[in-house]
Symmetry: C2
Subunit: 253 residues, 2 copies
DNA sequence: TATTATTGTAACAAATTGATACAATAACAA
DNA sequence: TTGTTATTGTATCAATTTGTTACAATAATA
């Protein structure tokens, strides 16, 4: 984040950006059994899209992903991970109509050779946060920026639907591996301390299937990523569950 | 592979290519317990490098990877898979010296603003073949193109060493999943029919560790990817092993 | 007809996972 | 106080998978 963001609207030649290369973000949101995806709507269009953007000419790719997240959604300090590059030529044609509409809505000339209408290869990054803690704000290009239920996503621009699917596959495969990273930043998936039930609910929501309570507890406790704290008196008419927290980095082997 | 390859040497502006975007290939070669990597040496330099190249403006990314493989190594019909995008800005500086040397060796002007000296983001693809069946031929840019033992790789240009490491990690994690794909093309890792021992040797070489014979057999037979054929009379003073082949696609569930 | 090397598989132990059961409570209601 | 209820932590046992060892089968060769 070395450079100030270049206002995109007043950048008719795409100067300062790596040409032909974009980043798109699939930000999954979780809370109490719900899975959502962060989408934005371009002004005066009916198009839903993933937040995306371009890479500054002197910027690391991973830094660009983080910057784009901030600029387009207002969210910051979120753990992002690469998952795939989308580079079919057919993306180009698929992008023309929606991009022209977006530009027209913005009052931009949609000259045939405008840089935004050229072919782009897009690098996909994904993240997972608590959507009640990550309140997005639309940027200057977007009407809205908000959370949409995964089970009833609106249809998305271009190949963004494919991106979401591929990101979810990656997330499911690597949930164990990335859980702590996802949780260490702003908008963590779980509060500082949480119950085993809350953690299991997170797993079940992401994986889209029920897990056996006993086996889950055994697996998680066996992995030694958790530290048990005092009990939580929830007010419910039942035994109070223990609270846990992720073992601080320094204390792990 | 719609377009004829553009001779790179006589392309002083990089026309016809997506700017700033490259593909680099980590081609692993296996044979009888040895693991190798395909490297090339640029003319009149001491630089070893991964085969790489650029993407035509109307070409699918995955097609570009296959074309680059053919153009730079002469190998064709090999299953390639994306594994990571290398996009740190520091790659830029790291590339300057070697690229200048390569260009000078080629008699090219190394003007500061030459397109090859600009910043590139590189998409990594990897593959796994039998290096005795995949005989590479150097292209017009390279002195040599050949197989190098993984355990004593020469030091590589720019961040190509990091790429090899990352590719191997990916290969190890997804060997089960991609084995049949790697084997279905030219230069398959195993002959049409092979013994269980040969398959186990492949696994041990890629994973870099010994596996228990009994357990390996159980796992592989249990996965039902193999069909047992007649025995192989090897000439050795011992019981003849069965031959196997991968179950043809159509016969699998 | 032994000998040797290697293979296929059985056999058993050890470890992991799946399923069920049950004791231990917080809160609440009688 | 004393049930009642819901939920948690864990024990228990079964089922499955994995790790290890053992052994019979058997080509080539001496």
């Amino acid at each position: 984040m070395a450079e100030p963001p270049i206002p995109k609207v007043s950048n008719p030649t795409g100067q300062g950006f790596l040409p032909g290369l974009a980043i798109d973000l699939v930000i999954f949101g979780f809370h109490e059994g719900q899975l959502k995806v962060l989408l934005l709507e371009y002004q005066n269009t009916d198009l839903f899209a993933l937040p995306g953007g371009f890479i500054h000419t002197t910027e690391n790719l991973n830094d660009a992903a983080r910057r784009i997240l901030v600029e387009r959604t207002g969210l910051h300090d979120i753990y992002l991970e690469q998952f795939y590059v989308f580079g079919d030529y057919a993306r180009y044609d698929a992008a023309k109509a929606p991009m022209t509409a977006i530009m027209r809505a913005k009052g931009l000339t949609s000259a045939e050779d405008h840089w935004l209408l050229r072919r782009f290869v897009s690098i996909g990054y994904y993240a997972l946060v608590d959507f009640t803690k990550a309140i997005p704000t639309p940027d200057v290009l977007s009407d809205t920026c908000g959370w949409y239920d995964f089970v009833k996503l609106p249809s998305l621009m271009q190949d963004h639907g494919v991106m979401v699917q591929k990101a979810l596959e990656t997330l499911r495969i690597s949930l164990d591996h990335n859980l702590i990273s996802f949780n260490r930043w702003a908008a963590p998936l779980l509060p500082e301390t949480f119950t085993m039930g809350e953690l299991q609910n997170l797993y079940e929501t992401i994986l889209g299937q029920k897990l056996h309570r006993s086996g889950f507890q055994r697996k998680i406790l066996g992995s030694e990523i958790l530290e048990r704290l005092e009990k939580k008196y929830s007010g419910g008419a039942h035994k109070a569950p223990y609270l846990y927290r992720f073992t601080p980095e320094k204390a792990r082997s």
